[in-house]
């Protein structure tokens, strides 16, 4: 560099370097670690900054993209070079290990590792990184890997851990005898096998666990009993067709007195039975189910009368309501209800009968899915021929109907709704359009 440009640089104020270390650490933490480390060549001020970074993020994908020349759209980009992938993985392993080796031995706040696209050649490295993070009192551990990588069991005795995300979760469970995570608040597990033994260990060992998400897990006699648990979310991907034949009967028992929200998104074939036991604080429930619940499910669900907000969305909502109705007593506290996934003109009476059990309902949101049953429109009872039940919720003040613009069957339903709410004078009706559903694009 010539002297002129150097002096020009000197004359400007170098604001960013004058900031305190803690702020620079914060900024560097927002970058991927390989980018943060690269800044060490900026100046002497920056040379050692990265070695004190409390937040480490290693992402194999972003790592790759900065190494590879960006390929333009075209066939070329689909050619997958096996050796190239392996070389990249090797470089990644080398990089992560070097960073961990050369950084100062200060505590790690968050450790994020994302290497789910390529199998790492060295399993022992992967385990060693996790052990390193645990030894440096990691608080947020977020790992995405391939299922071939198994986690060291020391994770389950990491007393500093507050937030744990493992995707997928693979661990030699049969050797696991104790879980001790006294500070864990949030847990997210993917593809875990939650049997009675492990679920008991897990919830006993995490006395302050508040938020749990299980994604694509297998539940076999899963026992969720926790005094601290507030939010439980279960997601089952419908694409897991191959798991249909596992022969497990998926069931779960929830006894969490402080649980306030429960959401279930997926096919009940992976959750044939859920028993709600002492869930007296449960207020928000969100179901995006398909069909196939067992009988006992409804009985248990109908007893959860503390619910204030209920969302029932997904296909075959009518089947669910029909199953639930005979068991239902009264949902006293329920004030907000959202229902979708059924043709409301066909199933108006089911809806009206369900609403009879909700005396304190204030707001009702209806997602009309008329296209679901257009094929059997011919035997849909018309308003004149069948008797439509009135809606009897005295405190109902607002009804919102959402529908697709190309759905003509909504008119019939609206007519029925106006007739059904004749006796409720002070009601506000809102009509809104749903975004038109596009056919899913197939990825090549």
């Amino acid at each position: 560099m010539d002297s002129a440009s150097t002096s020009k640089r000197r004359s400007c104020c170098d604001y960013i370097s004058s900031m305190p270390d803690s702020i620079l650490h914060h900024i560097l933490s927002l970058l991927d670690t390989h980018e943060a480390v690269r800044m060490c060549t900026l100046s002497k001020r920056w040379a050692d900054l990265w070695t004190y970074l409390p937040d480490l993020t290693f992402d194999l994908r972003s790592f790759k993209s900065s190494c590879l020349p960006v390929l333009k759209e075209g066939l070329q980009s689909y050619v997958f070079d096996m050796n190239e992938g392996k070389r990249k993985a090797d470089r990644f392993v080398h990089f992560v290990s070097t960073v961990l080796l050369r950084r100062q031995p200060c505590n790690i706040h968050s450790f994020r590792l994302d290497c789910d696209s390529v199998t790492l050649s060295r399993q022992d490295h992967f385990k060693a990184w996790i052990v390193y993070a645990v030894q440096h009192n990691v608080r947020v551990l977020h790992v995405e890997a391939l299922s071939s990588h198994s986690f060291p069991s020391c994770i389950w005795a990491c007393s500093s851990l507050e937030n744990l995300y493992l995707n997928p979760f693979c661990c030699d469970l049969y050797r696991l005898t104790d879980v001790n995570l006294p500070n864990l608040r949030e847990l997210h597990l993917n593809e875990a096998f939650l049997d009675n033994c492990f679920s008991k260990l897990l919830f006993c060992g995490c006395p302050f666990l508040e938020k749990v998400c299980f994604e694509d897990c297998d539940f076999v006699d899963c026992d969720v009993s926790s005094n601290s648990l507030k939010h439980l979310r279960i997601v089952v991907d419908g694409d897991r067709g191959s798991y249909y034949d596992t022969g497990f009967r998926h069931n779960m028992k929830i006894s969490a007195p402080n649980l306030t929200s429960f959401s279930f998104d997926g096919e009940p074939v992976f959750m044939q039975q859920t028993i709600f036991e002492s869930t007296s604080s449960l207020i928000h429930v969100d179901f995006r189910y398909y069909c196939g619940f067992e009988e006992g499910y409804f009985e248990s669900f109908a007893a959860v009368t503390s619910i204030e907000n209920l969302v029932l969305r997904g296909h075959y909502c009518d089947v669910f309501l029909e199953g639930l109705l005979p068991k239902l007593t009264v949902f006293d506290n329920l004030t907000n209800l959202t229902i979708g996934g059924l043709c409301l003109s066909c199933h108006f009476n089911v809806l009206a009968r369900f609403l009879e059990h909700l005396p304190n309902l204030k707001k009702l949101v209806l997602h009309h899915d008329g296209w679901n049953c257009e094929m059997d429109m011919h035997d849909v009872p018309t308003n004149s021929s069948t008797h439509l039940l009135p809606i009897k919720c005295k405190s109902l003040s607002e009804i919102e109907v959402k529908y697709f613009i190309n759905d003509s069957s909504v008119k019939q339903f609206l007519g029925a709704l106006v007739d059904g709410t004749m006796e409720l004078p002070n009601i506000k009706m809102v009509l809104s359009l749903r975004p038109v559903r596009m056919p899913q694009q197939i990825k090549i």
Partner: protein, 164 residues
């Protein structure tokens, strides 16, 4: 109404409810509650007048929808709008961003601090060290020899990973 005074002696009159978004100012107000009006002047010494203007604009925008922010029930549209507005707000040169960060740090305004830090990190992202040096006018005080030999050899592993 409280008055903020910047390092170049400009005065800014702000509603107390608006300025409350700074946890530092909120604490000061709480400490001085019940005293005379003259006490409700707060010196913000380490900040020049350009920054308080920006900070107050930020406060006002967020003050308009305080409840929605407190409860995550903000509707999708409003969230999008606010996001767009913030993107525009932070679209400024790196020096202003650094000042904003320092101001947000000393006044303890978490959302402003995080937003500005994120923007700075976006600027650093996908750039080589030389480019970053140019943008943020970082003075490279490495000697010629250091630059040619020591730094590359010491940090060879960084480069090997990228270009090998």
């Amino acid at each position: 109404m409280i008055t903020l005074i910047s390092s170049d002696k400009r005065k800014f009159h702000v509603l107390e409810e608006v300025a409350n978004q700074s946890l530092t100012i909120r604490d000061v107000i709480e400490d001085r509650r019940g005293r005379r009006r003259a006490d409700r002047i707060i010196l913000v010494t380490n900040i020049n007048s350009k920054i308080p203007e920006k900070v107050i604009v930020y406060w006002l925008r967020h003050f308009l929808m305080p409840e929605e922010i407190a409860h995550a029930s903000m509707s999708h549209k409003k969230a999008e709008k606010l996001k767009k507005w913030e993107a525009k707000f932070f679209d400024t040169d790196i020096d202003t961003l650094n000042d904003l960060i320092l101001a947000a740090d000393s006044l303890d305004i978490p959302s402003l601090f995080d937003g500005a830090c994120e923007k700075v990190s976006d600027i650093l992202k996908n750039r080589s060290a030389e480019e970053v040096g140019e943008i943020s006018k970082i003075e490279n005080e490495f000697t010629h020899e250091e630059e040619e030999e020591e730094i590359p050899s010491e940090n060879a592993w960084v480069w090997r990973n990228e270009f090998a």
